[in-house]
């Protein structure tokens, strides 16, 4: 009986681990992509636009570039760090740079993460991990037979992290948590000046 319980635990554990491994899809350009369209019945475009704008403002420096195209599209780029973790040991093995797009319309919006490129890290002379190159390798590239397992782990980590980012973004857009924008400190009034 105990063996059956342990077997069940084993299977549950394995399935929990696998549930996090939903791979990224491929778009019409052959690029890896996380793409989602979300319906928001009753919400006007302006409101969705304001929520997306608030998301980017709150994210602050996490996005290295950010631009609004027209009155409905946001374009931004960012990076996520891939950690190589084994029990208590951990170190960054590289970073994945990506573009993040959000487009709003009345009663719906869509967003997608794409143009993933991987930059491996190497240890510098001071023992810190730094990018070994400035030009990334597209994440959908064929890594060759010898590096396939390592490359697949980068793809899996990227899929997992974008899933987490997507959930957080959708949470902001659903406005289930109040958006808190950074508040500017009120200027003190000087009585020395007229």
């Amino acid at each position: 009986m105990k063996i059956w319980i342990l077997c069940s635990l084993l299977l549950i554990g394995a399935s929990v681990c696998n549930a996090q491994d939903k791979p990224l899809a491929v778009d019409e350009r052959g690029k890896l992509i996380y793409y989602e369209v979300v319906d928001c019945k009753g919400l006007p475009k302006d409101s969705l636009f304001a929520r997306a704008d608030a998301y980017f403002k709150k994210a602050g420096k996490r996005f290295s570039s950010e631009a609004v195209v027209g009155d409905s599209l946001f374009e931004s780029s960012a990076k996520l760090i891939i950690q190589k973790t084994a029990l208590v040991m951990s170190r960054p093995s590289g970073e994945v740079r990506y573009n993040f797009y959000v487009e709003v319309k009345p009663e719906k919006y869509r967003f997608w993460f794409t143009d993933f490129s991987f930059i491996p890290y190497q240890r510098d002379r001071y023992g810190n991990f730094v990018p070994s190159t400035t030009v990334g390798t597209p994440l959908e590239s064929d890594p060759g037979k010898l590096n396939v397992s390592e490359w697949q782990s980068y793809q899996k980590s990227t899929a997992k992290e974008t899933g987490i980012l997507a959930a957080k973004f959708k949470e902001t857009m659903a406005n289930t948590i109040p958006v808190q924008l950074p508040v500017k400190k009120a200027e003190a009034i000087s009585t020395k000046k007229w």
Partner: protein, 348 residues
């Protein structure tokens, strides 16, 4: 009973693996490398005097290098220890007794041991024993494309103990200024004797240049020594990188050990798992006491086969001197030397 134990262990292992994936920032970063090599000198004796990989016709050890790093808020430390010939008796300070420090022997070599504090996003200070800011190549084999090292690396400083402040004007420019001990010592008998600075410029994406200066009077040297160093690299394309190191070291009052030279590095990745790197170097040892300068030209071609954390480096090297600075197998002097080596470097 055994089956139950195995299943319990397996369940725990899967649980911990799942948990490990959730860890975004590890409290303590552990990394390192190991390396080993085989070298064959065509004159059947160790001939080329650059550092590491010195044994002829032997499967020999490099070192195991262990790095710990922890960041807490704005404070961080790095501790890096190496064990093995590359980090001990072939290095500086070393444990062969030739270099006496403290009790005269050490069982390991500290590569880095320092703490930093970032006062702002732009300004940080660091104190301790650090890898030198001079030059292109480093002691850890994971930081070099070629397994054998250049003359510029071998004659330049390995580490500098001191205190330094770094100010980043932007992501394209920063300035470091520091006060340092003599080269390659854990403690300095003649006081904090050197001043150093590094200007980092990155005018375009992919191009980084470091202009370095380190000046001071080493214990027992007749005068002040000054290294001027340029280290730069440019990632031309996704696959092609070019690097350059040029340096001049002068010592007042005709001090011995001065040099100048330049090394060019060309590296190309043909596939994600295979690349070739060519290093061409001209190195000039300045003569003292009226003696002539001696120079050497070295060409090194290295392959890099990568599989996960492992890099296999087959390499050929040809050195040609201005005078008979090498020796043939029968010990007669020779102007040239050449070698072939195979190295395994694993980074974790």
């Amino acid at each position: 009973m055994k089956l139950k134990s195995l299943l319990t262990l397996a369940s725990l292992a899967i649980g911990s693996a799942g948990y490990a994936q959730e860890t975004a920032d590890a409290p303590l970063q552990i990394s390192g490398s190991v390396d080993t090599y085989y070298k064959y000198d065509f004159e059947k004796r160790s001939n080329i005097p650059t550092y590491f990989g010195s044994d002829h016709n032997s499967v020999s050890l490099g070192m195991i290098d262990l790095v710990l790093k922890k960041t807490t808020g704005k404070a961080s430390f790095v501790g890096e220890l190496s064990f093995g010939p590359r980090g001990q008796y072939q290095s500086i300070p070393n444990s062969d007794g030739g270099y006496i420090e403290g009790d005269g022997y050490n069982s390991f070599h500290i590569q880095n041991l320092y703490a930093s504090y970032a006062f702002t996003d732009k300004f940080s200070m660091t104190a301790g024993y650090m890898g030198t800011f001079i030059g292109y190549e480093v002691i850890a084999p994971t930081g070099n494309y070629n397994y054998s090292t250049s003359y510029l690396f071998s004659y330049g400083p390995f580490q500098n103990a001191g205190i330094k402040g770094t100010y980043a004007f932007s992501s394209k420019a920063s300035l470091m200024v520091g006060l340092f001990n003599d080269w390659n010592v854990y403690s300095d008998n003649n006081g904090v004797s050197h001043i150093g600075a590094q200007l980092m410029l990155s005018p375009v994406e992919g191009w980084t240049a470091y202009l370095n200066v380190l000046s001071g009077k080493k214990e027992f040297d007749p005068g002040t020594g000054t290294v001027l160093d340029l280290t730069t690299s440019y990632q031309v394309t996704e696959n092609f990188k070019i690097g350059l190191n040029a340096a001049d070291y002068s010592i007042d009052n005709d001090g011995a050990g001065a040099y100048s030279g330049a090394a060019l590095y060309l590296q190309n990745s043909f596939t994600p798992g295979f690349g070739l790197g060519l290093r061409g170097e001209y190195f000039n040892m300045k003569g003292t006491g009226g003696a002539d300068d001696e120079s050497v030209t070295a060409v090194t071609l290295s392959g890099n086969f990568k599989a996960g954390g492992l890099t296999f480096i087959p390499e050929v090297r040809f050195d040609n001197g201005s005078s008979e600075m090498f020796a043939k197998s029968n010990l007669t002097p020779s102007k040239s030397a050449s070698q072939f080596s195979l190295a395994l470097v694993y980074a974790f």
